[in-house]
Symmetry: C2
């Protein structure tokens, strides 16, 4: 590649990053958790794994071009892990805060016998304690398609790409001390007595290293492979993965797929082990390594060792070179235009070079002066992080802009080891993968399992009613009219009825006849309605309570009762103030991203309150309750109350029969039920799981797991 | 039922009518067609049957509440039958215009052995000639649900309903002469010499009657059943269906389902054998019969016989009673409000009472003075009707407001004996029934066979492209930008490209770079595009011809090339005039109801013409051809050219692979093809069969039949 002319922006933007973050689960005193890794996470879970110890959780993101997207997965998995172990904390440092007995360190159970054997071997060779050190692994790859395009005319394309990766690796080894200078964050040694401080104990020669230093060559892929073979032959290591080096080349056959960079301590200040800006900073550093002219490689190890062993407040071991590298990074970042905040990030790093107290290790040591305070300092951070993981528990962290039902589905999917990919965030289109099966979903429940025509049927209320009624299910009769005379003619056809303008401003033009009206009253009601709209609906009136039945594959999995929003007086506050208080509920947000919606102080609410003899300024007596709207829709502030266990089988059968008639595998059936009768008023092709997952009152119903089981079989 | 208080309007509006219209297929000389009934119509066809003779076609409508809907089916089946026998005519009268030899009358072949045996028996007993008489059977039933409601509180509901029908039958028998007076239309006898004229030879004692008059009682259902049993026992008839009476009670077990009224001659002036208003008139007459106080029944036969035998110009046999009946009908019709034109219809009938020349038979005799002119008169009507059946052959008569693809599907369905029900006309939702299977369809191709998620995938262009591209299919890369700087940054990522505002007024703001532009030109093009819209698309440019592949179940069934509309100069007309001529093509209409759309003289067309150096007022030289739009969409006047047999298998495989990747069973794949390459630019969940059924140039491809076979198996 012509180094002057390479399409840097394209290479940078298309490059993929994946992260692995290890962390120790500890109790409130910082002791190793003895609780086993949850079986439900599964050994095959692509996001949540165990490392060496059973309490050493490893959170893995899929490779992503976008740092934001990467961070979403990181956040989500942290939230899920933390919430799965209610009383535990994720230790924030790479080195443990306490020194557990070897017997309190439980090797992680693995269904794969080899994996377990390997861990036993490590325990024996290095001791269990050393294995508890945690870190971030930063996986990097160029976008293959982009490289294929760039090297399109080269006959030895694959070789050139391998060489690009190897050059990057060599340069990285040479300059990695600069990253360590900024990001090293293990000032305190793992074992007991040693009171020295380091920039990075974990990365130091005393840290997480092979017993004997292994000479690894990055000259070429072949040379790299040969180094490993030699180390195995010499007995320096017994497994390929035992090679504890900062740069691991990941290849398949003769082709390098990605590089794993392992020289990152956990950032203890970050709930996710790494700062979002640092991910971007490291990416730029890595890409620079591919294009920087090479210097002698060997010097790299020496610089790195010096850096790790240095005092956190000490100056960078090669300040001028570090500044040069920052400058080169700045030049590159200029080519990326204005869409990144790299310039600002680089400014911060520059400052840290001038003032080492601003490096990570520097910051830690500033706040935690010596090892005696380490445990408590670490715990205070872990508690803070736990709080962050616990915020808005209904939502899935990192995915908060998706519809809540989709968030919930992804949450369950990640917990169950089902692969998740967002195909269109604004449209809530996702792809789930499990074993060899893949399913694309829209708005959670719309899948390959339901047919296209069921969707159009349910979208069309009159066709839905026709089909339900052909199948012997009660539906309220409804007719619409564009003409007054025509409407008058159906007087005979209705008994109890509602007359309403098609587009109604709640209240205006609506007349409800709970008994058959006289013809004159009927005419008057029509006149009234037609004065509001040119199209008027005449509907059979069915009085009763409104329920939503969630039906999947001929089973009712959940039932919610829907009620309009209400306020209860305290003898002091106005209705307007009571509404403000109601809207402070963190479970209320606009859109579909929270369990409930705000109650707006708009015309329909005003009219409805007035119809009860109040205004926004009225003060309700203590205990006096009023509804704020006539309708119970969630979208206008209505609440749902779980009634799954209380509704008679008869009505469940009606809901199942309705779903069957509409040939739907998954849907929501809306039913009005009174003492004597029922009527199915609507069928919903997208039943909104959130209604049942997050009822305002009553038990949450897990409808996500059965849905995933419908998609993938047993999970 | 309290006769004063019955909900007449509801009963009338919900009552169901079904029609059967028999007709003789004849050649251009009026001779019996010797062509067999088409096998493809099938014996089980609910709409198109044969009666006694193979050339005696019987067109049957499903029972309908709405006369308009009923008439749709009548029209459609007539069009299908007529178009299936290109050189034949449907004889318009109930009596044949020629007297064929017995050997030229071929008994209809039936797969049902009993049915064939019955026809042989009839031929022997009555002679084949008599069996050639055709008519309309008018089937009537009350809506069961309506009656169930009315009689809800009656313990002997079923009995009361039967009695209502029987009373109706008795009154009908009593007053039917009035209908015959208006609608009798067989002035000329069937057999050779007789030169007498009748009001209705067919209904007269010489007409289509049993050899011996059979005494049928309508006192009760039991009595009616007994009459038939007695006639069978006496040997007056050998089959139940041999009972040639004007009123047949249709029952199952002890329950009357409907009544068949058989006393209607074909209306020779009407292409569909009956006048639309007369259907309404007869319906009102029938419903009146249910509520009219009874008179002695016996007198009915005498009045009817007198009427049938009367001269077409003679006065009604009981004028004052007929006027009374008309008055009663008028009273009833007043209760129906203003939504019917019954008042006007009744006025017409009143006039005909006063002037018998205005009755049907009167009109025939006025135009066709004697039997010698009968054949030529009948043929002239049949020719006129044939012309009507042949209009707009692409459309399905009676269903012209549906999308053309849906019309075509229904046309094939009716031809193949698949039941059709319109569930929502404006949304093109229909139900098809075949044997025990039912399928609901929207806009022709959207069915239970495709999955909901495929629909959402194809609706989302970026998700579609992602999936296609993961499956190794070329798609043009496309990115959209809301910011100028962000857009500038992807300069590297494109080679040939199109820059365009998201919402573009054809031409404005678009730049096409057929070679990679300089950065400055790229920037200028972006500035240009952003001056038109706040969102700008950058798309890889793929030059070539645009094709639509119609893919069903991994097979390409049709391929169309799409071209923009064009005009060719004649050296005199302006472009504006040439567009007018183009738009006179009857295949062009607005909406989706014709094979092509109008070319509007709007801004995009104006700009495009101007870009070629012309204006609407330019006169093109003779033979000079210009395109009228840049784009080839059918909706803006583009044309399609069938290329099914010309496109290489390679591209067909790409289309199939695309459909497979999208997990679609039926879809349209849009592909751009050039000498070197191709790109799939879009996938359509609703592939618009009409493109392939009605290409402007090239062979029509029947994609409807394979689709029906996909739904129902072999048809």
């Amino acid at each position: 590649m012509d180094e002057k002319n390479y399409p840097f922006s394209k290479i940078y933007k298309n490059a993929l990053i994946g992260l692995e973050r290890e962390s120790l689960r500890v109790d409130e005193n910082g002791k190793m958790s003895q609780a086993p890794h949850l079986k439900s996470f599964k050994d095959s879970n692509p996001y949540i794994q165990t490392d060496f110890a059973q309490n050493q959780v490893e959170i893995i993101t899929p490779p992503k071009k976008s740092v934001d997207e990467l961070f979403s997965y990181l956040k989500a998995s942290h939230q899920i892990v933390s919430n799965s172990y209610k009383d535990e904390f994720l230790w924030s440092f790479s080195t443990p805060g306490t020194t557990p007995k070897e017997s309190d360190i439980k090797i992680a159970k693995k269904s794969n016998a080899e994996a377990y054997k390997y861990r036993k071997y490590l325990a024996k060779k290095y001791g269990k304690l050393k294995q508890l050190m945690c870190g971030i692994h930063y996986n990097f790859s160029f976008d293959r398609e982009t490289l294929d395009e760039i090297y399109a005319d080269e006959p030895n394309k694959d070789e050139l790409i391998n060489e690009l990766y190897m050059k990057l690796a060599r340069n990285y080894m040479r300059y990695r001390y600069i990253l360590t200078c900024f990001l090293g964050a293990t000032p305190f040694a793992i074992a007991g007595g040693n009171k020295d401080v380091f920039r990075s104990f974990r990365q130091s020669p005393f840290g997480y290293k092979n017993l004997e230093k292994i000479d690894v060559s990055y000259e070429s892929l072949d040379a790299y492979k040969k180094s490993i073979k030699t180390a195995l032959k010499k007995g320096q290591i017994s497994f390929k993965q035992e090679l504890y080096v900062d740069v691991r080349i990941r290849y398949e056959k003769e082709r390098i797929n990605y590089i794993e960079f392992r020289n990152f301590d956990l950032n203890p200040f970050e709930p996710y082990g790494i700062n979002r800006d640092d991910i971007e900073f490291i990416k730029l550093f890595i890409v620079l390594m591919a294009f920087l002219p090479e210097k002698e490689c060997k010097a790299g190890d020496e610089l790195q060792d010096k850096t790790t062993l240095g005092h956190p407040f000490s100056e960078c071991v090669n300040l001028s070179e570090a500044k040069e590298i920052l400058n080169s990074m700045r030049e590159l970042s200029a080519k990326l235009g204005k869409s990144t905040n790299l310039a600002q990030i680089l400014d911060e790093k520059e400052k840290a070079l001038d003032n080492p107290k601003l490096t990570l290790a520097g910051k830690v040591l500033t706040l935690c002066k010596n090892k005696d305070e380490f445990l408590e300092f670490g715990l205070s951070l872990a508690r803070k992080h736990k709080e962050i993981y616990s915020q808005n528990p209904y939502s899935l962290h990192g995915f908060e802009t998706l519809e809540l039902s989709t968030q919930s589905l992804i949450k369950t999917a990640i917990s169950r080891g089902i692969g998740v990919e967002i195909l269109d965030r604004s449209q809530n289109i996702i792809k789930l993968s499990y074993d060899d099966a893949q399913e694309i979903l829209k708005s959670a429940n719309m899948s390959s399992k339901d047919s296209l025509i069921s969707y159009f049927i349910m979208q069309n209320k009159s066709v839905t009613k026709k089909i339900l009624s052909e199948n012997g299910i009660n539906t309220p009769k409804s007719l619409d009219f564009a003409g007054f005379d025509e409407a008058l003619e159906v007087y005979d056809e209705f008994d109890k009825l509602v007359i309403k303008p098609q587009n109604t401003n709640y209240g205006l033009g609506i007349t409800i006849f709970e008994e058959k009206p006289s013809f004159d009253n009927f005419r008057e009601a029509l006149t009234n309605a037609f004065s509001e709209d040119s199209v008027v609906l005449i509907e059979e009136f069915v009085k009763g309570e409104e329920y939503r039945f969630y039906v999947q594959d001929d089973k009712v999995l959940a039932i919610s009762k829907r009620e309009p929003p209400k306020v209860v007086g305290d003898g002091k506050s106005t209705i307007s103030e009571l509404i403000d208080i109601l809207n402070q509920d963190p479970q209320r947000k606009d859109g579909h991203i929270a369990p409930m919606c705000y109650v707006k102080k708009n015309e329909p609410v005003k009219l409805w309150i007035e119809s009860q003899g109040f205004s926004f300024d009225s003060v309700l007596e203590a205990g006096q309750e009023i509804t704020l709207r006539k309708n119970s829709n969630v979208s206008t502030g209505g609440i749902s109350i779980d009634k799954t266990d209380e509704i008679d089988e008869f009505y469940k059968d009606i809901a199942i029969k309705s779903a069957k008639a509409l040939k739907s595998r998954i849907c929501g059936i809306d039913m009005i039920i009174n003492e004597k009768n029922y009527a199915v008023i609507e069928a919903n092709f997208n039943p909104a799981m959130m209604i049942h997952l997050f009822p305002k009152i009553g038990k949450s119903r897990d409808v996500a797991t059965p849905f995933l089981e419908m998609l993938f079989g047993e999970i």
